[in-house]
């Protein structure tokens, strides 16, 4: 504990400091020999009012624990913000003591918390991962290398028999990729709602996407339509070159040559069709997942019903080096 990364303090019930570690001195500026024997009031900033300390002591007495943000003062008079946790220590017959550990809240920590918040927001804006009706079932799993992801997907019913959707990957990771993914999502949705000829839609997207991506960034995408009237899966690809189709005969690896979006101007993209039967399954993925698969597989390693559990088990074998999205579609 003496060499622990976070500052630590042990004080008695009267607030007299009995022990501090080295990190305490580094953050507060008080040498150990000065702090020990002094009151914890040497740290008091005056920022918190009486109400704060009442709630603090109430929590400590009632729950035996307090954690939260607090402003304290260094030996040089400067104020700092810390995340503090305090626990009582009871030694039989020797009275009550308090053990405190804190972390200074720096700009870096604020930024980390902010990115985590952005990740939550991003997940809340994504479509529901499970779409289940009488005709088709879609389940998706997404994992970001960091809290946020540059992968994106969406789907919507054009009418009660035609479902249109996409899976895409803005190259890069972290906040910059996530910011671009947010605008690319809007671009994709608006384009696909107006253009159901998927090759043409990708051509239009390729021309406009450059305005929304950083200079040396590009995107991979696969757009699709599940047409329950004609029993077809129509798709067009831009750099997402592989997906899998499971039918009554087995698992088929479908590969299509296509260029990424945002690499070159005036690129043609083709639309392809697959015949769909009841019970068929399609496994669409970004390259973060594809790169983890062996080149030949007999059965798909992630089940439709158990996608979340299976993907954790599957990904557990690897060091994840990319954002990952897997979308499984089943025709019922």
């Amino acid at each position: 504990m003496e060499y622990a990364h976070d500052p630590m303090v042990v004080a008695n019930a009267e607030g007299i400091i009995l022990w501090v570690n080295r990190a305490f001195t580094e953050v507060t500026g008080y040498p150990q020999e000065f702090a020990v024997g002094n009151s914890t009031r040497i740290l008091k900033s005056g920022v918190q009012g009486l109400d704060f300390y009442e709630a603090f002591w109430n929590s400590l007495i009632v729950t035996g624990h307090w954690s939260g943000e607090i402003w304290n003062r260094r030996s040089d008079g400067s104020l700092y913000r810390e995340w503090l946790e305090i626990y009582p220590l009871n030694f039989k017959g020797q009275g009550r003591y308090y053990f405190t550990v804190f972390q200074e809240i720096t700009n870096e920590r604020d930024i980390t918390l902010d990115i985590q918040m952005a990740g939550k927001l991003q997940r809340s804006l994504a479509p529901k991962p499970i779409l289940d009706n009488n005709d088709v079932r879609i389940q998706t799993a997404q994992r970001g290398m960091y809290s946020v992801t540059g992968d994106l997907y969406d789907y919507l019913w054009l009418n009660d028999r035609v479902l249109i959707g996409f899976i895409a990957d803005v190259m890069g990771h972290g906040m910059s990729a996530a910011m671009q993914a947010g605008t690319v999502r809007v671009l994709f949705k608006e384009t696909l709602q107006q253009m159901t000829a998927l090759g043409d839609a990708l051509k239009v997207l390729n021309k406009s996407i450059g305005h929304y991506l950083a200079n040396d960034t590009f995107a991979a995408a696969l757009c699709f339509i599940v047409d329950l009237e004609s029993h077809e899966f129509r798709y067009a690809s831009a750099g997402i070159h592989t997906f899998y189709h499971q039918d009554g005969l087995g698992l088929h690896k479908i590969q299509v040559d296509s260029l990424y979006l945002g690499v070159a101007e005036d690129v043609e993209f083709n639309e392809y069709r697959l015949r769909l039967h009841r019970g068929d399954r399609l496994y669409l993925m970004t390259d973060g997942f594809y790169d983890l698969l062996p080149s030949t597989i007999q059965s798909f390693p992630v089940g439709l019903e158990t996608i979340d559990k299976d993907i954790e088990r599957f990904l557990g074998q690897f060091l994840i080096q990319d954002d990952i999205t897997l979308m499984n579609i089943e025709v019922l």
């Binding site: 991979a220 260029l259 990424y260 390259d287 080096q321």
Partner: protein, 103 residues
Amino acid sequence: MPVDIEKHGERIVVQLDGQMYVPDAAMLRERLLQYMDKGVQEVEVNMRQLDFIDSAGLGVLIGIHKRLLERGGHVTLRGLRGSVKELFTLTRLDKVFEIKDSD
């Protein structure tokens, strides 16, 4: 991943070996940008010893290619083979880059 870079005037020759993942790609990008800041116009990348590249690595090559095109330079790739060559075919990047001595 070992990366050797030799400079010959306005041209550099980059030797990629082994497997190229995200951290290698980020490092390569920084090194290549430094050379470009010094006025390098031609980049030749020897990929004969490269066994794996993911989209992060492709991103570095595409980014450098786009930047050099804007200022009249260009990227040449050499010695693509195996899964690396297959990836360039599947993503049609073999039509974007000038590729030489491929298996």
